[in-house]
């Protein structure tokens, strides 16, 4: 992780991709901390009984993964807004990758917009969003 200034950034710049930890152990830890006790997040069998393909990552955890992407890229980034679209469930214990790219730079306001995408191993977008950040 490193700090960045507005002048370090370029339109179209890719943020370093990373694979979030979506293991059952980690998701369970998150769900318990967030007091999300529905077992669709923590138990594959229980999730299947609810008609899901397996346990799923809570939406706010997916959103947190997108935010983590921004801070892995620029630890000093102030997140002003994160706008998230949930396209399909993020399945627990399945590999995923997060990517991000700079898609708008407002020099006057010193604001940067970043497209963020969480994809599964098949390259299917599960969650996407845009973040508005300021680099101080």
């Amino acid at each position: 992780m490193s700090e960045k200034s507005f002048s370090d950034v370029e339109f179209g710049e890719d943020l370093p991709t990373f694979e979030p930890d979506t293991s059952l152990a980690n998701v369970t830890k998150f769900a318990m901390a967030a007091k999300m006790f529905n077992n669709r997040f923590t138990d594959h069998e229980a999730a299947r009984k609810q008609g899901l393909p397996g346990a799923i990552v809570p939406g706010i955890m997916s959103q947190a993964i997108l935010v983590a992407m921004v801070h892995r890229w620029a630890s000093n980034a102030t997140l002003e807004k994160i706008d998230t679209i949930f396209r399909a469930p993020v399945l627990v214990d399945m590999p995923h990758a997060v990517s991000g790219v700079v898609t708008d730079m407002d020099e006057e306001e010193q604001r940067i917009e970043i497209d963020l995408t969480l994809e599964n191993a098949e390259g299917e977008t599960r969650v996407l969003g845009t973040a508005t950040v300021r680099l101080s």
């Binding site: 179209g12 708008d104 977008t125």
Partner: protein, 208 residues
């Protein structure tokens, strides 16, 4: 000429991309498309003039709409005030047969999009209630659809002899140009796009 026939800007309720950023993105990433069509959800954007951006970036920027029907979502190209007077674009359950009839009457054309998707696509409705006469074109490649959803679209097209287009269905900047439609000649306006689509001489392309 290659056009992405399905994109949303911030004028759509779930669109997050500014049109200028689409243009910058296409040029910065050297995407092999010559332009795109803004197909905003349930509306037609009469107010915005994108010609200055089109000139600045040497891109073709056209406008259409994505309406919602009893057979899923449908792209409409060649929208006019008269067509909007005839069809309530804000409705979420327009009869597809009526959309096809009115678009034909008003020199426009309707193209069911992402047909393989559940609820908002045509395939499942066709399975339940049969085909609707008058469909000639469907969206074969959609940038937001999953592999099996595009495969379902291809099957529907094969079974019914539909021609197919491609569109990214971009809602964020970096998704523009993932899929598009290649035309053999130039397209320089909405009327010209309708004419090119009615000729059925084009092909869907994808870079997904």
């Amino acid at each position: 000429m290659i056009l992405d026939l399905h994109a949303h800007s911030i004028k759509s309720d779930d669109g997050r991309a500014k049109v200028e950023n689409y243009c910058q993105w296409i040029r910065r990433k050297e995407l092999p498309i010559d332009g795109f069509v803004l197909t905003e959800h349930r509306l037609f954007d009469f107010d915005s003039d994108y010609q200055p951006l089109a000139d600045e970036f040497d891109l073709c920027i056209l406008k259409g709409s994505e309406v919602e029907t009893d057979y899923g979502h449908v792209l409409v190209f060649g929208v006019s005030q008269e067509l909007m007077d005839a069809l309530d674009f804000t409705s979420i359950r327009l009869p597809l047969a009526r959309v096809l009839e009115e678009t034909e009457r008003h020199d426009a054309i309707a193209v069911p999009c992402h047909p393989g998707r559940t609820r908002v696509g045509m395939c499942a409705h066709v399975e339940e209630r049969g085909i609707v006469p008058g469909v000639r074109i469907i969206e074969l490649y959609n940038g937001g659809s999953r592999g099996r959803e595009d495969a379902a679209a291809h099957l529907l097209a094969e079974e019914n002899g539909y021609q197919g287009i491609g569109g990214s269905d971009a809602h964020i900047v970096s998704h523009i140009g993932r899929c598009a439609t290649r035309f053999p000649g130039p397209v320089d306006g909405e009327a010209s796009l309708v004419e090119a689509l009615r000729s059925l001489d084009f092909e869907a392309v994808t870079w997904k």
